[in-house]
């Protein structure tokens, strides 16, 4: 793993992977959206509004996975002090905040016809809102220091503290009575969702995750260039 902490080696691989991943993202979104919008059954209770699920659920999954990735990158920065790990954590934060915002917004759009309200202050919605605030706090913290390394280290500790929120989000629908429906895909006794709905859901999840990969590589490139520029400027100023 430490082999890939070398930026030159990392970006050589990442730049080769990027076009493939971008093509995969476009393809998966195309096929996934076709299945989600046209080639899947309407729900017997919810009717056509169930199609919001194919945008909403993968966004929420990616938001959680993105936070996990951010905390993991932060931890490896604390342990091995690879600059690339710090940049990865910084790169993941706005992407995750974006996914969280999509999950919250589509959830509100779905809640209005189904629950009769845009928003309720129940456990699932509140804990996802806290996730959004954690992303914002992380972004504010890492940028608040004159020394970027110091910001990265403080942010990494905050990201690790915030990890406690992930199991709370995951199990909030089981621990508390809430309007939000309980888990129907990742269950001990297998998915309870209909297979013809599971396929578009998984396609869309794949699309979101490969989009995450594409955005990560693009942002990593930009952040790395920014860091190099800073070093060059500091060197020139000496």
């Amino acid at each position: 793993m430490h082999r890939f902490a070398n930026p030159t080696r990392f970006f050589r691989i990442a730049n080769a992977v990027l076009p493939v991943l971008a093509l995969l993202t476009v393809g998966l979104f195309g096929v996934g959206l076709y299945y989600a919008l046209f080639n899947s059954p309407a729900d017997y209770q919810q009717g056509e509004t169930v199609r919001i699920m194919y945008v909403h659920v993968p966004a929420a999954w990616s938001a959680l996975a993105c936070y996990g990735a951010m905390a993991l990158a932060g931890a490896s920065f604390l342990i091995w002090k690879h600059t690339l790990a710090d940049l990865a954590a910084r790169a993941a934060a706005p992407i995750g905040a974006g996914f969280t915002a999509i999950a919250l917004a589509t959830g509100a759009l779905w809640g209005q016809p189904m629950w009769g309200t845009w928003w309720v202050w129940d456990a699932r919605l509140t804990s996802v809102l806290i996730l959004f605030f954690l992303y914002l706090g992380y972004i504010a913290l890492v940028n608040a220091f004159d020394d970027p390394d110091r910001g990265g280290r403080a942010g990494a500790v905050l990201a690790l503290v915030g990890l406690i929120n992930l199991p709370i989000i995951r199990f909030s629908v089981d621990w508390w009575n809430t309007l939000h429906q309980p888990a129907s895909v990742l269950r001990m006794d297998g998915p309870s969702i209909a297979p013809e709905m599971l396929l578009p859901l998984l396609l869309m999840a794949g699309a979101y995750f490969s989009l995450f990969g594409v955005l990560m590589i693009l942002r990593l490139r930009a952040l790395f260039a920014e860091r190099r520029l800073r070093q060059l400027r500091l060197a020139a100023a000496d």
Binding site: R150, R153, A154, L160
Partner: protein, 221 residues
């Protein structure tokens, strides 16, 4: 152990000599709580309904005011390096700081809150839940605030940043604290809400100092 008590006593002594700092926190609590009857109109029923939320939210905000200086002063004058060299684990330094912070901020708020509750016309049978909830909750505020304060040592706009980082983590505390008071006011059992607060405190006592210690180590590097 001597060093641990020494850190607490030192912070208490500093707080006593700079007594205005505590007074300012309490004055902020007092002023903000008294803004609500003025903004909302003095209807006793309306005040009684919002009293639990106002007291808890204002207590959280008042506590936030004091965190940006918790480690910053020591970091500026080199005291933090001295403390770290004294051989006490950083997590224990953070715990001592949290205890001192609670004694100088949490405890005064806890004593002042019932008085403010009278001004807000809180129902008589809700007072035990208010006091018990704040007694369990304010130490958690101090512990989490210590983590935030350790993270922002050396940051720009540290005061706002601490609030931005710590307040989201304190949302569960607010939920259970307020619902305990509301349950007591409605004549429902408050035990489960208080037990949740106790559970959060029991988790925060060992874990928050560890996180704060890790943050301090990054600040000292």
């Amino acid at each position: 152990m001597t060093a641990f008590v020494g850190v607490i006593l030192r912070d208490l002594r500093l707080a006593r000599r700079q007594g205005a700092d505590i007074a300012m926190t309490l004055a902020f609590f007092l002023v903000v709580v008294s803004l609500f009857p003025l903004g909302l109109g003095p209807s006793p029923d309306a005040l009684a309904r919002i009293a639990p939320a106002v007291l808890w939210v204002t207590a959280l905000l008042a506590a936030m005011l004091s965190f940006d200086r918790l480690f910053q002063q020591d970091a500026d004058d080199g005291g933090l390096d001295q403390l770290a060299l004294a051989g006490l684990p950083l997590a224990l330094i953070a715990l001592a700081k949290a205890i001192a912070h609670w004694l100088t901020t949490g405890l005064p708020i806890l004593i002042l809150a019932p008085v403010m509750a009278i001004m807000l016309n809180l129902q008589a049978d809700a007072y035990p839940a208010l006091i018990a909830g704040l007694a369990l909750g304010t130490p958690v505020v101090s512990l989490f605030g210590t983590v935030g304060a350790a993270l922002v040592v050396g940051a720009r706009r540290a005061g706002v940043l601490v609030a931005l980082i710590v307040l989201p983590l304190l949302i569960p505390l607010l939920i259970f604290g307020v619902s305990a008071i509301e349950a007591a006011g409605a004549g429902l059992p408050v035990r489960s809400h208080l037990m949740f607060l106790g559970a959060i405190l029991a988790g925060a006592v060992p874990l928050a100092p560890l996180a704060a210690g890790a943050a301090l180590r990054q600040a000292l590097e």
